[in-house]
């Protein structure tokens, strides 16, 4: 043996055997010791998260009628990566894949859409090849993510027959999954606003829409921003306007996350984890669809009446334009809004899950009376004589006036006239003045108080009793309602005048020499000279709710609610409770309130005074409430006929009422812009609403007005005369709502079919629990 060779062989053996030992050591380290690190890296490198949108919670009225709900539509969807490939053969010589062709032929027979159309819809747009032109190159191609199910056909299920057909189609697709690889039937949510009993409430509900870049930008924190981005990517919606926006965080639920394994090109291979979305909670509102419908009807009737029945105005008998209006019903004991009607209004059903047809929107935007605008919440109008209760309460806080005193009601005061026919009544009480709505009575009070404060050269600490009183009653600032919209109205104080003058006097003075219109030029001259001062005219106008004073119908309703309930002013709420999908109450929503700084004596006096407005002859509301069973129900109200520069007067009637010998339960306010006299146009509408609330038949009054109460036959809108004290028993949300989000892959497995079919049960139109009168046409 050659020793050198042998020795070297031994050395070689040593080297050679050291190599596998090294490798095994390294392998052990990687797989046994550092395995977790690599497993984590694996999850990062090969999975993507697909977000699934949670079913949005319903918005229901106080007894559970859905105001906004999710209709389930049956959608046949395809997952592009699970479909047979479009082409077989080589790249240069592609051949259509017969498997795919056959599959779409089969589907075509079931759904009745041409197979080539279905195929085109299921094809991903080839952005890699055509870039931005891809959708044009392959018409109908899917522009979204390959991870998202592609909707191929939406099957109508709006009628029982159609729903039956939809269910049949779904069954065929789901039961023969081997025939339809990559295709499944899903129930998808579509936000709808069913307008129960024809109650629109469109301005309150708002709507949902696609998540915009602004929504994402305005997110309150990073977590919300991320969630919004994910939701936007998954085709989610966000509440826009109204309750949908205000309570979006409860309604939207929590998105589900499907983790899918992908190849390096990002194509999904399989689902590794599926976290189901958590359906959104439901919002129970204090809105009562029936009262809302009644209020909308009463308002529409009032508008039509004003337009068609001549009334005395400006010394003549005329009809009026009545271009807009609002009716508000508030529960005076809880501060919840029961109805907030708008005129004109529109069908909230024009909004659906994704938005609104642009043409419809354009029409609504330019329609007369601005139906998209909420007159009830945002409309700001001079309150006119409805304001006199505040003037009364303010006057009696001064040493110059008391509730027991009597004061002059001349036919004229300083050139300001009473309304036509309201001649002098001599010396009368506050109650009498409110009943007949004597303007000069309040002018004189205002003048007296203004002088006491020092006239044009005010004392050091002017009392400003009326302005302060208005502020006490919540006027001049936001109501704080749970809506994205609100209005302050206008209560102009001395300081406000100074601020405005500092800001504007240069403009006023300049215009004083250039303004062609003599009336306006005079205003400018006056404003230029002493616009910063609180003038006699300011004070006199203020006392009768004119001039710079404006309020929203909701503000006035809240003030009258405070009057009706003995002095509690509420920050109003429409939301009543948040109820989890399983029916559990997550949160009850109470309206915050504060006690008015008004003595009980004054409140009681005002209540009685306002009762006389409707119950006694000469009361401005007497005619409208003729025939109303005031022996069973106590109503207190005040008319308002507010002058508007260059327009017909705004008609108001503000009231509170309830069953006799009980504390008042409702505050009802009706406002009709350019409606003329409050007692003629607005008061009958308020009465019509009370008729509905209490289930009265609305028997004819002496005015010849025969209110048509569409619901009188069905009994009172509010049984026992009161809004429901308990929450409606909402059914736990059906499992079906979660079905659309489950991955198609899961539907293909055997056990999932019954579950999916259970989901399809909701395809049938929802049973109408509230067989009210048939829907009515929309006045707009």
């Amino acid at each position: 043996m050659n020793d050198r060779s042998r020795l070297r062989l031994v050395i070689l053996a040593a080297i050679v055997f050291s190599l596998p030992i090294t490798l095994i050591g390294r392998l052990w380290y990687m797989q046994a010791l550092a395995g977790d690190k690599y497993k984590a890296a694996l999850d990062n490198s090969i999975t993507r998260e697909v977000q699934t949108v949670a079913p949005r919670g319903m918005i229901v009225d106080d007894v559970g009628r859905p105001l906004a709900r999710n209709d389930s539509a049956l959608v046949i969807t395809a997952l592009s990566t699970e479909l047979p490939k479009a082409n077989i053969g080589t790249d240069k010589n592609p051949q259509p894949n017969p498997k795919r062709v056959d599959e779409f032929e089969r589907l075509s027979k079931i759904v009745g859409v041409p197979a080539d159309q279905l195929d085109a819809r299921a094809t991903l747009c080839d952005y890699a090849k055509y870039h931005a032109d891809a959708p044009k190159k392959n018409p109908g191609c899917w522009t979204g993510s390959p991870l998202q199910p592609i909707p191929l056909v939406t099957i109508d299920n709006s009628t029982p027959d159609a729903a039956q057909r939809a269910t049949d189609i779904a069954l065929q697709v789901l039961e023969q999954q081997e025939e339809f690889p990559g295709i499944t039937a899903q129930v998808q949510d579509l936000r709808t606003y069913p307008a129960p009993l024809g109650a629109s409430a469109a301005q309150l509900l708002g709507h949902v829409g696609k998540i915009t870049a602004d929504d994402i930008k305005n997110a309150k924190d990073d977590a919300e921003q991320t969630a919004l981005k994910d939701a936007a990517g998954a085709g989610g919606v966000i509440g826009q306007d109204g309750l949908e926006a205000e309570y979006n965080q409860y309604l939207e639920g929590t998105m589900g996350t499907r983790t899918v394994r992908v190849d390096p090109a990002g194509n999904p291979i399989e689902t590794v984890k599926d976290v189901a979305p958590v359906p959104g909670a439901q919002l129970v509102t204090s809105i009562d669809a029936r009262v809302q419908a009644i209020a909308e009807q009463a308002l529409a009737d009032a508008v039509n009446r004003a337009r068609t029945v001549p009334q005395r105005l400006f010394g003549q008998t005329m009809t009026v334009p009545a271009d807009a209006g609002a009716a508000v019903v508030v529960d005076v004991r809880t501060g919840h809004v029961i109805a907030a009607a708008n005129y004109p209004t529109y069908d909230p059903g024009v909004w659906d899950g994704t938005g609104i047809d642009p043409k419809t929107y354009d029409a609504l935007l330019h329609a007369p009376g601005k139906p998209l605008f909420s007159q009830a919440i945002q409309g700001q109008y001079a309150p006119g004589s409805t304001f006199k209760v505040i003037s009364t309460a303010g006057a009696v806080t001064t040493p110059y006036y008391s509730l027991s005193g009597t004061y002059d009601c001349p036919s004229k005061y300083l050139g300001y006239q009473n309304f036509e026919g309201e001649s002098g009544w001599g010396s009368i009480s506050f109650a009498q003045a409110l009943k007949i709505s004597c303007d000069t009575f309040f002018y004189k009070i205002a003048d007296t108080l203004w002088r006491a404060d020092g006239s044009m050269n005010p004392v050091a600490h002017p009392r400003d009793a009326l302005i302060n009183e208005a502020t006490i009653w919540g006027l001049g600032k936001d109501t704080g309602i749970d809506l994205p919209i609100d209005a302050t109205g206008s209560i102009v104080s001395r300081q406000d005048k100074i601020d405005a003058w500092n800001k504007n006097h240069e403009l006023w003075c300049a215009q004083a020499s250039t303004e062609p219109n003599p009336t306006f030029r005079q205003y400018d001259e006056e404003n230029c000279q002493d616009g910063a001062k609180y003038r006699q005219g300011d004070a006199l106008n203020f006392a009768v709710g004119q001039g710079t004073v404006t309020v929203s119908p909701l503000q006035l309703a809240l003030a009258y609610a405070a009057l009706g309930n003995g002095g509690t002013l509420f920050t109003p709420r429409i939301g009543k409770a948040i109820v989890a999908p399983d029916g559990k109450v997550l949160k009850t929503i109470d309206a915050p309130s504060r006690k008015l700084d008004v003595s009980a004596d004054v409140i009681g006096y005002l209540q009685n005074a306002l009762h006389s407005v409707v119950s006694e002859p000469h009361g401005t509301g007497y005619a409208a409430f003729l025939g109303f069973p005031l022996d069973q129900y106590t109503i207190g109200g005040k008319t308002g006929t507010a002058e508007v520069q260059g327009k017909i007067d705004t008609a108001w009637f503000a009231s509170f009422g309830g069953p006799k010998d009980q504390p008042a339960q409702y505050a009802v306010v009706v406002m009709v812009s350019q409606g003329g006299q409050g007692g003629v146009t607005a008061a009958p509408a308020v009465r019509q609403i009370y008729d509905g609330l209490f289930g009265l038949d609305g028997s004819p009054s002496s005015s010849g007005y025969n209110p048509h109460d569409m619901f009188a036959a069905a009994g009172p809108a509010m049984p026992n005369g009161a809004p429901p004290a308990t929450l409606p028993n909402l059914m736990p949300k059906p499992v079906a709502s979660a079905a659309p989000s489950s991955p198609p892959a899961a539907v293909t497995s055997g056990s999932a079919v019954p579950q999916a079919l259970g989901a399809l049960g909701v395809l049938a139109p929802p049973p109408d629990r509230y067989s009210g009168p048939p829907g009515r046409t929309w006045a707009s």
Binding site: M1, N2, R4, S5, R6, R8, L9, L12, A13, I15, V16, F17, L19, P20, T22, L23, I24, R26, L27, W28, M30, Q31, A32, A34, G35, K37, Y38, K39, A41, L42, S45, I46, K85, I88, R261, V262, D263, P264, I269, V272
Partner: protein
């Protein structure tokens, strides 16, 4: 060294080497080693030479081959939904054909094979030369010849490995047969002959093969009995050369990238280190038992490129886990062990050098390939023998196994040469 089947045999001449009937004669150098044995009764017949082959070695090679087919299937299935096992079927055919080559090589006449070494060498050289004329470029190395009819590509350089081994073995063996020590002239002659294919491979940009050839050269020179000073000198020259190559920027961009990537394995995992990283992730996430064959998420997601060829070990790592990965390493260790054993017991220096050369070759390729999968070696285009998809490697490796078996059969069944 008697095998059971050598007992009760009629033919005394073929009794095992323990009997050594002609040892003395051989030692005296009076006769050349006798060719063995008499005509066989078919490949698996009672008297077949195959019966003297190393069954442990066969078993290891066949196990690796079958494991390889499964892993190739797992690696190529995701990209071929219509014909998931198309590539694996090809590979099975390659392995079967290669195995037949191995068997035929093992049965070849030992002396004839020895004298055929120059022919093998020249053929190997011509093959490599042919790539310059009709070669195709794959991954930066113009080292493949595309076979007609879509059978595949062939890499002639694979065969130059065999060629170098048998040529140097023959040269040194001839020297020893003349009772002379291998001297400077022999080493120089061998170096020149080895340098030619090595240079050609280098011109093809086939770094991996070049490295293998270097290792084989060093191995066969060492075992062939080259003077120690030559080995030391070569070792130092290779080290200096390596430093110079890196420093002087002779390396191509991608080669430099691979080296840089190796030194900083956790950087640029989306770029240079993408594949090395993905392979490590695949292996690391396999754990003890793996995710199961055909169930590797990383492999099914096609995140590892060349998973069926150079990175096939990552498939084993992910889908078969430590058990599978270690099994592959152990099977290669068995081949190494049998190879060294054959080298140690070889009947002459030719057999020893051939066996040792093959062991060096296999050991280096295995270590480099698995090492780069595990992130302890830089990435080079070297396949994992018997396991990686690809005909050339299979054929060349099977040929090498055939050579080992031939030496083994010669040891067991033939008269032992005294010239070692």
């Amino acid at each position: 060294m008697s095998a059971p089947w050598n007992l009760n045999r009629g033919n005394v001449q073929r009794v095992s080497s323990l009997a050594r009937p002609d040892t003395t004669i051989a030692k005296r150098g009076l006769t050349r080693p006798r060719t063995t044995p008499p005509p066989s009764e078919g490949l698996l017949g009672k008297d077949s030479k195959l019966r003297y082959s190393d069954w442990v070695l066969w078993a290891a090679v066949l196990s690796l081959s079958m494991l390889g087919v499964l892993l190739v299937a797992a690696a190529t299935k995701p990209a071929n939904p219509t014909h998931p096992f198309h590539v694996a079927e090809h590979q099975a055919v390659f392995l079967a054909v290669g195995f037949v080559f191995a068997v035929l090589t093992s049965l070849a006449d030992y002396r004839a094979m020895r004298s055929a070494a120059p022919v093998i060498y020249v053929l190997g050289l011509l093959g490599v030369l042919a790539t310059f004329a009709i070669g195709t470029d794959v991954n930066g190395a113009k080292a493949w010849i595309r076979l007609p009819g879509g059978i595949g590509d062939i890499q002639p350089a694979e065969f130059s490995k065999v060629a170098i081994i048998v040529l140097v073995a023959m040269l040194f063996n001839a020297k020893r047969r003349e009772r002379l020590e291998v001297g400077d002239v022999d080493v120089v002659r061998a170096l020149i002959l080895v340098a030619i294919p090595m240079g050609l491979v280098l011109l093809q940009n086939d770094t991996g093969t070049m490295l293998v050839l270097l290792v084989i050269m060093f191995g066969v020179l060492a075992i062939g009995g080259a003077p120690t000073r030559w080995l030391a000198g070569l070792g130092i020259a290779m080290a200096i050369g390596a430093v110079l190559v890196v420093k002087l920027g002779i390396l191509h961009g991608y080669q430099m990238d691979r080296l840089t990537g190796f030194v900083h394995p956790d950087t640029d995992i989306a770029g240079i280190n993408y594949n090395a990283y993905q392979a490590r992730v695949a292996i690391g996430s396999g754990g003890m038992t793996g995710s199961g064959l055909f169930h590797g998420p990383q492999i099914n997601g096609q995140h590892v490129y060349a998973a069926s060829t150079d990175f096939i070990f990552s498939v084993a790592g992910e889908e078969l886990g430590f058990i599978g990965g270690a099994a592959i390493i152990l099977l290669f260790t068995v081949i190494m062990w049998r190879g060294l054993r054959i080298a140690l017991r070889a009947p002459d220096l030719f057999g020893r050098v051939v066996a040792a050369g093959v062991v060096c070759w296999f050991a280096f390729e295995t270590f480099e390939n698995i090492g780069m999968n595990l992130g302890i070696m830089p990435v080079t285009g070297i396949p994992l023998q018997f396991v990686s998809n690809g005909g050339s490697s299979v054929f060349a490796s099977m040929l090498a196994i055939g050579l080992l078996q031939n030496v083994h059969i010669q040891t067991k069944a033939g008269p032992t040469s005294a010239v070692l």
